[in-house]
Amino acid sequence: MITKKVADVSSALKGVDSGMTFMFGGFGLSGIPENAIAELVRLNINKLTCISNNAGVDDFGLGLLLHQHQIKKMISSYVGENAEFERQMLSGELEVELIPQGTLAERCRAAQAGFPAFYTPAGYGTEVAQGKESREFNGKMHILEYAFDADFAFVKAWKGDTAGNLIFKGTARNFNPNMCGAAKITVAEVEELVPAGELDPNEIHMPGIFIQRIFQGVNYEKRIEQRTVRQRN
Protein backbone atom coordinates (compact mmCIF):
# COMPACT_ATOMS: atom_id res chain seq x y z
CA MET A 1 0.00 0.00 0.00
CA ILE A 2 1.33 3.41 -0.98
CA THR A 3 1.06 5.76 1.94
CA LYS A 4 -0.03 9.37 1.44
CA LYS A 5 -0.14 10.41 5.05
CA VAL A 6 1.78 13.51 6.06
CA ALA A 7 2.22 14.79 9.60
CA ASP A 8 0.35 18.05 9.41
CA VAL A 9 -0.92 20.90 7.29
CA SER A 10 2.50 22.47 6.99
CA SER A 11 4.03 19.32 5.46
CA ALA A 12 0.94 18.95 3.31
CA LEU A 13 1.40 22.40 1.79
CA LYS A 14 5.12 22.07 1.09
CA GLY A 15 5.87 23.64 -2.27
CA VAL A 16 3.03 26.17 -2.45
CA ASP A 17 4.22 29.51 -3.72
CA SER A 18 3.12 32.94 -4.83
CA GLY A 19 1.78 33.11 -8.37
CA MET A 20 0.43 29.58 -8.34
CA THR A 21 -3.01 28.33 -9.36
CA PHE A 22 -5.00 26.53 -6.66
CA MET A 23 -8.28 24.63 -6.62
CA PHE A 24 -10.44 24.66 -3.50
CA GLY A 25 -13.29 22.22 -2.89
CA GLY A 26 -16.47 23.33 -1.19
CA PHE A 27 -19.83 24.90 -1.95
CA GLY A 28 -20.43 28.06 0.02
CA LEU A 29 -18.73 27.26 3.32
CA SER A 30 -19.70 23.59 3.19
CA GLY A 31 -16.87 21.13 2.63
CA ILE A 32 -14.13 23.76 2.32
CA PRO A 33 -10.53 22.84 3.22
CA GLU A 34 -10.42 24.97 6.36
CA ASN A 35 -6.96 23.85 7.46
CA ALA A 36 -5.31 24.45 4.09
CA ILE A 37 -6.86 27.91 3.85
CA ALA A 38 -5.65 28.79 7.38
CA GLU A 39 -2.14 27.69 6.46
CA LEU A 40 -2.17 29.74 3.25
CA VAL A 41 -3.19 32.75 5.34
CA ARG A 42 -0.27 32.06 7.67
CA LEU A 43 2.19 31.64 4.77
CA ASN A 44 0.85 34.86 3.26
CA ILE A 45 1.88 33.96 -0.29
CA ASN A 46 0.15 36.05 -2.91
CA LYS A 47 -0.73 36.66 -6.58
CA LEU A 48 -2.77 33.46 -6.42
CA THR A 49 -5.25 32.27 -9.00
CA CYS A 50 -8.04 30.47 -7.15
CA ILE A 51 -10.51 28.07 -8.73
CA SER A 52 -13.42 27.66 -6.36
CA ASN A 53 -17.18 27.68 -6.83
CA ASN A 54 -17.52 30.50 -4.30
CA ALA A 55 -15.23 33.02 -2.67
CA GLY A 56 -16.16 32.53 0.97
CA VAL A 57 -17.63 35.22 3.20
CA ASP A 58 -15.91 38.29 4.56
CA ASP A 59 -14.34 36.58 7.55
CA PHE A 60 -14.22 32.91 6.59
CA GLY A 61 -13.23 30.58 3.80
CA LEU A 62 -11.46 32.23 0.88
CA GLY A 63 -12.57 35.56 2.33
CA LEU A 64 -9.56 35.20 4.64
CA LEU A 65 -7.19 35.16 1.66
CA LEU A 66 -9.04 38.05 0.02
CA HIS A 67 -8.71 40.07 3.20
CA GLN A 68 -4.91 39.80 2.95
CA HIS A 69 -4.95 40.56 -0.78
CA GLN A 70 -3.40 37.18 -1.52
CA ILE A 71 -5.67 36.50 -4.49
CA LYS A 72 -4.95 37.97 -7.90
CA LYS A 73 -7.69 36.15 -9.78
CA MET A 74 -10.81 34.20 -8.86
CA ILE A 75 -12.41 31.63 -11.17
CA SER A 76 -15.85 30.95 -9.73
CA SER A 77 -19.51 30.53 -10.60
CA TYR A 78 -21.03 32.55 -7.76
CA VAL A 79 -19.41 35.22 -5.65
CA GLY A 80 -22.27 36.91 -3.80
CA GLU A 81 -22.41 37.31 -0.02
CA ASN A 82 -18.94 38.82 0.21
CA ALA A 83 -18.61 42.59 0.49
CA GLU A 84 -14.79 42.70 0.43
CA PHE A 85 -14.80 40.56 -2.69
CA GLU A 86 -17.22 42.93 -4.40
CA ARG A 87 -15.13 45.93 -3.40
CA GLN A 88 -11.90 44.44 -4.77
CA MET A 89 -13.62 43.33 -7.95
CA LEU A 90 -15.33 46.63 -8.68
CA SER A 91 -12.13 48.57 -7.91
CA GLY A 92 -10.20 46.34 -10.31
CA GLU A 93 -7.80 45.00 -7.65
CA LEU A 94 -9.19 41.55 -8.19
CA GLU A 95 -9.54 39.81 -11.53
CA VAL A 96 -12.67 37.66 -11.74
CA GLU A 97 -13.67 35.02 -14.26
CA LEU A 98 -17.22 33.85 -13.79
CA ILE A 99 -18.15 30.56 -15.42
CA PRO A 100 -21.21 28.31 -15.24
CA GLN A 101 -21.17 25.95 -12.28
CA GLY A 102 -21.52 22.79 -14.35
CA THR A 103 -18.72 23.93 -16.62
CA LEU A 104 -16.56 24.61 -13.56
CA ALA A 105 -17.18 21.09 -12.25
CA GLU A 106 -16.51 19.48 -15.61
CA ARG A 107 -13.35 21.47 -16.30
CA CYS A 108 -12.05 20.00 -13.03
CA ARG A 109 -13.19 16.51 -13.95
CA ALA A 110 -11.63 16.88 -17.42
CA ALA A 111 -8.28 17.74 -15.82
CA GLN A 112 -8.61 14.77 -13.50
CA ALA A 113 -9.52 12.32 -16.24
CA GLY A 114 -7.19 13.54 -18.98
CA PHE A 115 -9.70 15.13 -21.34
CA PRO A 116 -8.25 18.29 -22.87
CA ALA A 117 -11.62 19.69 -23.94
CA PHE A 118 -15.33 19.00 -24.21
CA TYR A 119 -18.45 20.56 -25.69
CA THR A 120 -21.24 21.86 -23.46
CA PRO A 121 -24.38 23.89 -24.20
CA ALA A 122 -24.00 26.00 -21.03
CA GLY A 123 -23.37 29.65 -21.77
CA TYR A 124 -23.99 29.56 -25.51
CA GLY A 125 -25.24 32.95 -26.68
CA THR A 126 -23.97 34.69 -23.53
CA GLU A 127 -20.85 36.61 -22.47
CA VAL A 128 -19.38 33.29 -21.35
CA ALA A 129 -19.17 32.15 -24.96
CA GLN A 130 -17.24 35.22 -26.11
CA GLY A 131 -13.99 34.23 -27.78
CA LYS A 132 -14.83 30.55 -27.52
CA GLU A 133 -15.42 28.10 -30.32
CA SER A 134 -19.02 27.12 -30.81
CA ARG A 135 -20.47 24.24 -32.74
CA GLU A 136 -23.79 22.59 -33.42
CA PHE A 137 -24.49 19.03 -32.31
CA ASN A 138 -27.93 17.43 -32.68
CA GLY A 139 -29.44 20.76 -33.69
CA LYS A 140 -28.22 22.53 -30.56
CA MET A 141 -25.33 24.96 -30.13
CA HIS A 142 -22.47 24.10 -27.80
CA ILE A 143 -19.23 25.76 -26.79
CA LEU A 144 -15.80 24.22 -26.41
CA GLU A 145 -14.44 24.31 -22.87
CA TYR A 146 -10.98 23.29 -21.70
CA ALA A 147 -9.60 21.33 -18.77
CA PHE A 148 -8.16 23.42 -15.94
CA ASP A 149 -4.43 23.48 -15.28
CA ALA A 150 -3.66 23.95 -11.59
CA ASP A 151 -0.67 23.49 -9.28
CA PHE A 152 -2.45 22.36 -6.13
CA ALA A 153 -5.95 21.12 -5.35
CA PHE A 154 -7.07 21.44 -1.74
CA VAL A 155 -9.95 19.18 -0.86
CA LYS A 156 -11.71 18.26 2.34
CA ALA A 157 -13.31 14.91 3.12
CA TRP A 158 -15.16 13.38 6.04
CA LYS A 159 -13.09 10.21 6.36
CA GLY A 160 -9.86 9.18 4.72
CA ASP A 161 -7.29 6.45 5.07
CA THR A 162 -3.51 6.44 4.88
CA ALA A 163 -3.69 5.20 1.27
CA GLY A 164 -5.42 8.47 0.41
CA ASN A 165 -8.90 7.02 -0.10
CA LEU A 166 -11.68 9.48 0.65
CA ILE A 167 -15.31 9.40 1.76
CA PHE A 168 -17.30 12.62 1.80
CA LYS A 169 -20.40 13.46 3.81
CA GLY A 170 -23.69 14.87 2.54
CA THR A 171 -23.52 17.91 0.32
CA ALA A 172 -20.04 18.70 1.65
CA ARG A 173 -19.00 16.39 -1.18
CA ASN A 174 -19.75 18.90 -3.99
CA PHE A 175 -16.62 19.87 -6.00
CA ASN A 176 -14.17 18.01 -3.76
CA PRO A 177 -14.12 14.70 -5.66
CA ASN A 178 -13.97 16.47 -9.03
CA MET A 179 -10.85 18.36 -7.97
CA CYS A 180 -8.98 15.27 -6.75
CA GLY A 181 -6.21 14.59 -9.24
CA ALA A 182 -7.14 17.69 -11.24
CA ALA A 183 -3.98 19.56 -10.17
CA LYS A 184 -0.33 18.55 -10.12
CA ILE A 185 -0.60 17.88 -6.38
CA THR A 186 -3.82 17.12 -4.52
CA VAL A 187 -3.86 17.70 -0.77
CA ALA A 188 -6.72 16.15 1.18
CA GLU A 189 -7.61 17.07 4.73
CA VAL A 190 -10.03 14.85 6.60
CA GLU A 191 -12.06 14.94 9.78
CA GLU A 192 -11.04 11.38 10.55
CA LEU A 193 -7.93 9.65 9.24
CA VAL A 194 -7.91 5.87 9.63
CA PRO A 195 -5.38 3.16 8.74
CA ALA A 196 -5.69 1.67 5.25
CA GLY A 197 -7.99 -1.32 5.35
CA GLU A 198 -10.57 0.22 7.65
CA LEU A 199 -12.70 1.72 4.88
CA ASP A 200 -14.84 -0.62 2.78
CA PRO A 201 -13.32 -0.60 -0.76
CA ASN A 202 -16.87 -0.51 -2.08
CA GLU A 203 -17.78 2.70 -0.24
CA ILE A 204 -14.84 4.87 -1.25
CA HIS A 205 -15.80 8.00 -3.16
CA MET A 206 -12.32 8.90 -4.41
CA PRO A 207 -9.50 6.34 -4.66
CA GLY A 208 -6.14 7.31 -3.19
CA ILE A 209 -4.43 7.35 -6.58
CA PHE A 210 -5.84 10.84 -7.12
CA ILE A 211 -4.40 12.17 -3.85
CA GLN A 212 -0.74 12.94 -3.16
CA ARG A 213 -0.92 14.01 0.48
CA ILE A 214 -3.47 13.43 3.22
CA PHE A 215 -3.58 14.71 6.78
CA GLN A 216 -5.80 14.72 9.81
CA GLY A 217 -7.40 18.15 9.98
CA VAL A 218 -7.99 19.98 13.24
CA ASN A 219 -10.45 22.44 14.76
CA TYR A 220 -13.14 22.32 12.08
CA GLU A 221 -15.52 25.20 12.49
CA LYS A 222 -17.93 24.08 9.74
CA ARG A 223 -19.73 27.37 9.77
CA ILE A 224 -23.33 27.47 8.56
CA GLU A 225 -24.07 30.27 6.10
CA GLN A 226 -27.88 30.21 6.17
CA ARG A 227 -29.24 28.56 9.27
CA THR A 228 -32.81 27.70 8.32
CA VAL A 229 -34.98 25.68 10.65
CA ARG A 230 -38.63 24.84 11.22
CA GLN A 231 -40.36 24.91 14.56
CA ARG A 232 -41.47 21.80 16.33
CA ASN A 233 -45.21 22.11 16.82
Partner: protein, 217 residues
Protein backbone atom coordinates in the same frame (compact mmCIF):
# COMPACT_ATOMS: atom_id res chain seq x y z
CA UNK B 1 -52.05 41.00 -7.91
CA UNK B 2 -50.21 38.02 -6.44
CA UNK B 3 -47.66 38.06 -3.68
CA UNK B 4 -44.55 35.88 -3.86
CA UNK B 5 -46.24 33.00 -2.10
CA UNK B 6 -49.16 33.09 -4.50
CA UNK B 7 -46.80 33.08 -7.50
CA UNK B 8 -45.19 29.99 -5.98
CA UNK B 9 -48.61 28.48 -5.38
CA UNK B 10 -49.65 28.99 -9.00
CA UNK B 11 -46.39 27.50 -10.29
CA UNK B 12 -46.89 24.47 -8.05
CA UNK B 13 -49.81 23.54 -10.31
CA UNK B 14 -47.30 22.99 -13.14
CA UNK B 15 -45.53 20.29 -11.16
CA UNK B 16 -46.64 16.83 -12.28
CA UNK B 17 -46.50 13.43 -10.67
CA UNK B 18 -43.07 11.80 -11.09
CA UNK B 19 -41.22 15.05 -11.77
CA UNK B 20 -37.67 15.75 -10.66
CA UNK B 21 -37.57 19.49 -10.04
CA UNK B 22 -34.77 21.99 -9.59
CA UNK B 23 -35.82 25.11 -7.70
CA UNK B 24 -33.84 28.32 -7.92
CA UNK B 25 -33.27 30.73 -5.06
CA UNK B 26 -36.08 33.12 -4.02
CA UNK B 27 -39.69 32.61 -5.11
CA UNK B 28 -38.92 29.20 -6.72
CA UNK B 29 -37.84 27.81 -3.33
CA UNK B 30 -41.36 28.54 -2.04
CA UNK B 31 -42.92 26.30 -4.69
CA UNK B 32 -42.06 23.22 -2.62
CA UNK B 33 -44.57 24.36 0.01
CA UNK B 34 -47.49 24.18 -2.42
CA UNK B 35 -47.01 20.96 -4.32
CA UNK B 36 -50.03 18.67 -4.01
CA UNK B 37 -49.75 15.91 -1.44
CA UNK B 38 -51.11 13.23 -3.72
CA UNK B 39 -48.29 13.37 -6.28
CA UNK B 40 -44.70 12.18 -5.98
CA UNK B 41 -42.05 14.76 -6.71
CA UNK B 42 -38.33 14.90 -5.88
CA UNK B 43 -36.37 18.10 -5.51
CA UNK B 44 -32.81 18.31 -6.79
CA UNK B 45 -30.35 20.88 -5.59
CA UNK B 46 -27.34 21.39 -7.81
CA UNK B 47 -24.84 21.37 -4.96
CA UNK B 48 -25.38 17.63 -4.80
CA UNK B 49 -28.62 16.31 -3.33
CA UNK B 50 -31.73 14.66 -4.68
CA UNK B 51 -34.74 14.10 -2.45
CA UNK B 52 -34.58 17.30 -0.40
CA UNK B 53 -36.97 17.58 2.50
CA UNK B 54 -38.07 20.50 4.69
CA UNK B 55 -35.76 22.60 6.87
CA UNK B 56 -34.45 20.73 9.92
CA UNK B 57 -35.91 21.16 13.38
CA UNK B 58 -34.02 23.63 15.48
CA UNK B 59 -30.88 22.01 16.86
CA UNK B 60 -30.75 19.44 14.11
CA UNK B 61 -29.03 21.61 11.49
CA UNK B 62 -26.03 19.96 9.84
CA UNK B 63 -23.39 22.13 8.14
CA UNK B 64 -22.77 19.23 5.74
CA UNK B 65 -26.37 19.11 4.49
CA UNK B 66 -27.39 22.27 2.68
CA UNK B 67 -29.14 23.31 -0.52
CA UNK B 68 -27.85 25.52 -3.34
CA UNK B 69 -29.06 28.58 -1.41
CA UNK B 70 -26.69 27.49 1.40
CA UNK B 71 -29.69 26.84 3.65
CA UNK B 72 -29.67 23.92 6.07
CA UNK B 73 -32.05 21.20 4.86
CA UNK B 74 -33.11 17.63 5.51
CA UNK B 75 -33.50 14.68 3.16
CA UNK B 76 -36.45 12.36 2.58
CA UNK B 77 -36.42 8.55 2.18
CA UNK B 78 -34.90 7.71 -1.21
CA UNK B 79 -32.52 10.69 -1.15
CA UNK B 80 -28.97 10.59 -2.44
CA UNK B 81 -25.85 12.75 -2.32
CA UNK B 82 -23.42 13.14 -5.23
CA UNK B 83 -20.63 15.36 -6.53
CA UNK B 84 -21.00 18.51 -8.63
CA UNK B 85 -20.02 16.88 -11.92
CA UNK B 86 -22.71 14.24 -11.50
CA UNK B 87 -25.19 16.86 -10.37
CA UNK B 88 -24.74 18.81 -13.58
CA UNK B 89 -24.79 15.52 -15.47
CA UNK B 90 -28.37 15.18 -14.23
CA UNK B 91 -29.14 18.69 -15.40
CA UNK B 92 -27.25 18.70 -18.72
CA UNK B 93 -28.42 15.17 -19.49
CA UNK B 94 -32.04 16.32 -19.11
CA UNK B 95 -32.87 13.95 -16.30
CA UNK B 96 -34.37 16.85 -14.32
CA UNK B 97 -37.92 17.37 -15.61
CA UNK B 98 -38.63 20.92 -14.54
CA UNK B 99 -36.52 23.95 -13.69
CA UNK B 100 -38.07 26.90 -11.91
CA UNK B 101 -35.96 30.01 -11.55
CA UNK B 102 -36.12 33.74 -11.07
CA UNK B 103 -35.23 36.36 -13.66
CA UNK B 104 -34.45 40.04 -14.02
CA UNK B 105 -35.64 40.06 -17.63
CA UNK B 106 -37.25 37.68 -20.11
CA UNK B 107 -37.59 38.44 -23.81
CA UNK B 108 -40.31 37.38 -26.21
CA UNK B 109 -38.06 34.79 -27.86
CA UNK B 110 -37.41 33.14 -24.50
CA UNK B 111 -34.06 34.71 -23.64
CA UNK B 112 -33.42 35.16 -19.95
CA UNK B 113 -31.14 37.50 -17.97
CA UNK B 114 -30.65 36.93 -14.28
CA UNK B 115 -26.98 37.01 -13.28
CA UNK B 116 -25.41 40.38 -13.78
CA UNK B 117 -26.08 44.12 -13.84
CA UNK B 118 -22.96 45.61 -15.43
CA UNK B 119 -21.11 47.95 -13.09
CA UNK B 120 -23.58 47.32 -10.29
CA UNK B 121 -24.18 43.75 -9.35
CA UNK B 122 -22.05 40.79 -10.33
CA UNK B 123 -22.87 37.80 -8.19
CA UNK B 124 -22.33 35.25 -10.94
CA UNK B 125 -24.50 32.77 -12.77
CA UNK B 126 -24.02 29.86 -10.38
CA UNK B 127 -25.76 26.90 -11.99
CA UNK B 128 -28.30 29.00 -13.90
CA UNK B 129 -26.53 28.91 -17.27
CA UNK B 130 -26.24 25.13 -17.19
CA UNK B 131 -29.85 24.83 -16.13
CA UNK B 132 -31.32 27.08 -18.82
CA UNK B 133 -29.07 25.72 -21.56
CA UNK B 134 -30.10 22.15 -20.83
CA UNK B 135 -33.62 22.00 -19.45
CA UNK B 136 -36.52 21.37 -21.78
CA UNK B 137 -39.05 22.72 -19.35
CA UNK B 138 -38.21 26.07 -17.78
CA UNK B 139 -40.63 28.22 -15.82
CA UNK B 140 -39.65 31.69 -14.72
CA UNK B 141 -41.04 33.06 -11.48
CA UNK B 142 -40.75 36.83 -11.11
CA UNK B 143 -42.45 40.14 -10.60
CA UNK B 144 -43.88 41.54 -13.84
CA UNK B 145 -42.07 44.85 -13.36
CA UNK B 146 -38.96 45.94 -11.50
CA UNK B 147 -38.86 48.26 -8.51
CA UNK B 148 -38.73 51.28 -10.80
CA UNK B 149 -41.92 50.06 -12.46
CA UNK B 150 -40.26 49.08 -15.75
CA UNK B 151 -41.41 45.89 -17.45
CA UNK B 152 -39.30 42.75 -17.09
CA UNK B 153 -41.27 41.09 -19.90
CA UNK B 154 -39.44 42.50 -22.89
CA UNK B 155 -39.01 42.55 -26.64
CA UNK B 156 -35.31 42.09 -26.01
CA UNK B 157 -33.26 41.74 -22.87
CA UNK B 158 -31.04 44.70 -22.00
CA UNK B 159 -28.95 42.87 -19.40
CA UNK B 160 -26.28 40.23 -20.13
CA UNK B 161 -28.03 36.98 -20.99
CA UNK B 162 -28.08 33.79 -18.98
CA UNK B 163 -29.46 31.77 -21.87
CA UNK B 164 -31.08 32.13 -25.25
CA UNK B 165 -34.51 30.97 -26.40
CA UNK B 166 -35.03 28.73 -23.42
CA UNK B 167 -37.89 30.01 -21.26
CA UNK B 168 -41.19 28.21 -21.87
CA UNK B 169 -43.51 29.75 -19.32
CA UNK B 170 -43.58 32.79 -17.05
CA UNK B 171 -45.60 33.27 -13.91
CA UNK B 172 -45.60 36.81 -12.50
CA UNK B 173 -47.63 38.71 -9.94
CA UNK B 174 -49.93 39.71 -12.82
CA UNK B 175 -50.16 36.85 -15.27
CA UNK B 176 -49.27 33.44 -16.61
CA UNK B 177 -47.71 33.61 -20.07
CA UNK B 178 -46.38 31.07 -22.51
CA UNK B 179 -43.40 31.93 -24.70
CA UNK B 180 -44.40 31.13 -28.29
CA UNK B 181 -42.78 31.71 -31.66
CA UNK B 182 -44.92 34.82 -32.00
CA UNK B 183 -44.37 36.32 -28.57
CA UNK B 184 -45.83 36.08 -25.06
CA UNK B 185 -49.17 34.34 -25.16
CA UNK B 186 -51.34 35.45 -22.24
CA UNK B 187 -52.85 32.40 -20.58
CA UNK B 188 -54.21 33.62 -17.24
CA UNK B 189 -54.73 36.83 -15.30
CA UNK B 190 -54.06 37.22 -11.60
CA UNK B 191 -57.32 37.65 -9.66
CA UNK B 192 -58.58 41.20 -10.08
CA UNK B 193 -55.98 42.16 -12.69
CA UNK B 194 -57.30 43.32 -16.05
CA UNK B 195 -55.89 42.36 -19.44
CA UNK B 196 -55.27 46.05 -19.95
CA UNK B 197 -53.11 46.26 -16.81
CA UNK B 198 -51.04 43.30 -18.01
CA UNK B 199 -50.66 44.90 -21.44
CA UNK B 200 -49.48 48.09 -19.78
CA UNK B 201 -46.88 46.26 -17.74
CA UNK B 202 -45.59 44.24 -20.70
CA UNK B 203 -43.00 45.62 -23.06
CA UNK B 204 -42.73 42.61 -25.39
CA UNK B 205 -45.40 41.47 -27.84
CA UNK B 206 -48.39 40.12 -25.90
CA UNK B 207 -50.77 37.76 -27.69
CA UNK B 208 -54.32 37.96 -26.39
CA UNK B 209 -56.69 35.41 -27.83
CA UNK B 210 -60.30 35.25 -26.67
CA UNK B 211 -61.36 35.51 -23.07
CA UNK B 212 -58.40 35.35 -20.64
CA UNK B 213 -59.44 33.43 -17.54
CA UNK B 214 -58.50 34.34 -14.00
CA UNK B 215 -55.94 32.06 -12.38
CA UNK B 216 -57.12 29.35 -10.09
CA UNK B 217 -54.91 27.75 -7.51
Amino acid sequence: MLDKNQIAQRIAKEVRDGYYVNLGIGIPTLVANYVRDDIEVEFQSENGVLGMGPFPFEGEEDADIINAGKQTITTLPGASFFDSAMSFGMIRGQHVDLTILGAMEVSENGDIANWKIPGKMVKGMGGAMDLVASADNIIVAMMHTNRAGASKVLKQCSLPLTGVGCVKKIVTNLAVMEVTNDGFKLLERAPGVTVEAIKQATDGHLIIEGEIPEMSF
